[in-house]
Subunit: 395 residues, 2 copies
Amino acid sequence: MARVGTRPENRHQARFLRILRDSGPQSRAELGDAVELSKSKVAIEVERLAELGFVDVVGLAASRGGRRSQMVALSQNLRFVGVDIGATSIDVAVLDGELNLLGQDRAETDVRLGPGPVLDQATDLVAKVRAELDGTITGVGVGVPGPVSQAEGALVAPPIMPGWSRFPIRDVLGAALGAPVMVDNDVNVMALGELHAGTARSVRDLLFVKIGTGIGCGIVVGGEIYRGVNGSAGDIGHIQVDGHGPVCACGNTGCLEAAFGGAALARDAEAAARSGRSDWLAERLLAGNPLSARDVGAAADAGDPVSLALVRDGGTRIGKVLASLVSFFNPGLVVIGGGVAGLGHPLLAEIRSVVYRRSLPLATGNLPIVLSELGGTAGVVGAGRLISDSVFATN
Amino acid sequence: MARVGTRPENRHQARFLRILRDSGPQSRAELGDAVELSKSKVAIEVERLAELGFVDVVGLAASRGGRRSQMVALSQNLRFVGVDIGATSIDVAVLDGELNLLGQDRAETDVRLGPGPVLDQATDLVAKVRAELDGTITGVGVGVPGPVSQAEGALVAPPIMPGWSRFPIRDVLGAALGAPVMVDNDVNVMALGELHAGTARSVRDLLFVKIGTGIGCGIVVGGEIYRGVNGSAGDIGHIQVDGHGPVCACGNTGCLEAAFGGAALARDAEAAARSGRSDWLAERLLAGNPLSARDVGAAADAGDPVSLALVRDGGTRIGKVLASLVSFFNPGLVVIGGGVAGLGHPLLAEIRSVVYRRSLPLATGNLPIVLSELGGTAGVVGAGRLISDSVFATN
């Protein structure tokens, strides 16, 4: 079993581990083809990876003429943990070396409680999921809802998260879980999840747009997350979409996030319910719970025209921002994810309509705009990918 | 002298050539430090580069203790040619291996004449500049005002350039000039020029905004031009800035380019002159020439309030688009270039004011927004950098 903190010893070993993670078991001959190393050198590197506990020899491959080559697979004992901390929930998953889900759990939380209680809760949740599984944790990836300094392994000035700024999440969780930890912004982590296991697998330049309580964008350039010089790249929630729109929490007016997203939809739904414009929403409100994006989706599905208009109007606003970004960035794919993406087809149709009409034809000719296939697991799988990229690399 | 088509034989040689280009003459010891090669291997590679005609040994370095190391420099005979084809002009420069300007010339043209006559004109201009200099052409870089397919070395469906789409610029110029040719979008080429010799030298992620007849943006990620999946990345001229704005040549309404840029300024200036709102512009118009952005700049400098308002209004529109892109991309630097950047301080002040107010504080905290230092030579220097990146690489 790979001891905690063990790393591959050179870039060939690191490359083998990533190939085995992304493409499953390979023969030694196939590994040799991928890195242009001689047979004997491949044999030596595979031997070392087996000694380090990273891989197992799992049998013989079909003959390609001559002696049959050994099949190599990632060790069954590798365990990556993905932690996705949202504003109101924590998701935890334990994954194998290929980042298949072995177990997962979820708990309600409130990030406004501060880092101490929330990270304690996350640690407990990880312990609970681990208890049902064997294996030692090889590494832990964490997504958090705000701008992250990767050098510090901490959030930097996240809005509405008192006590979190520069709190050493990486070091505290690393000590509690006894494994290396990597921290990144939740949207980047979800984009990594799509890149690993979703529709984005074969695309190198793409945008992942998360529409949750707030709105953010993960940017993938050449198969890697692009973070910008301060780690704030993709923070599109405060792009102005309406010079006379509502005042945003950030102090500006007409921000995308103030106009659309989970929080804005809940606000608009409640206004529609109270003013009597939507009987459907009024009924839901009377049932006792505060309205949410989910209620608007259900009402739209049931034929409530006011709710449908809210969804369409939101799609138009997102679409206008995306149209600009598509012209600027010329991506190969746009994936829409996050809770509000659950509004589904009417939202997607509106976004597509605006982007395809407003962006340059050259940039949209072959551009798919799709809903996330992974949905709720994009975050934990992506967090696993984040830490495995770090462990499967030379220092 | 390096024969035409010669390339370095391995990645160490390629790296040495780029170091010598970007940092000037180096001792063999310094080259060895940069690539972590043994003394004897560095000596072998330098020897080969000298045999290939790429470098010369130019003396002995100061002692670092022990024997003095040989100083190595790019061969004085290397000649790169930069060609910058604009809508109405061709600029040509001959550069040495370090991309210093040895000679340059400029001619008026009209790209609407089609590729045949314009490329003939460019070839003649190159011949004229070469005639005054010795050395064989090592390679030619070309910037053209439209979207480029690098694989084809050709423009793809450029607006208002009849006959240019898919015309094999690279192959035709390569045959005429007898040297390898690389073609790219003019804005990307200017961004490369800034990266090589301008304020952007030490920055890895930046935006170069060209405001000429039209408006475009060069995107630099990790020190390399980012082109997007179809090569259209940075095409920001058709981002919508005003839902009720003027109709653009592209068929949409309210595009940035329809609201600002050289063509839009000329149109607005003429309207102001004819309607009697600006006596200054009316006088210029009566003098006989059609009004241009240059007239608006001169009028603004002379205190014409209408012209100043046109410049400020344009700055606001550019600033709003840039604010969104800065939030999205989180660059380390924004450089404003192109002919209209000659409007200078009032334009820059307005752009800065909008971006610093509208973008996220985290993204603008340390963000300089500056005018191009290179001005008119950014294109030809960048074109030289484009082809030297290609020649100073293994195939």
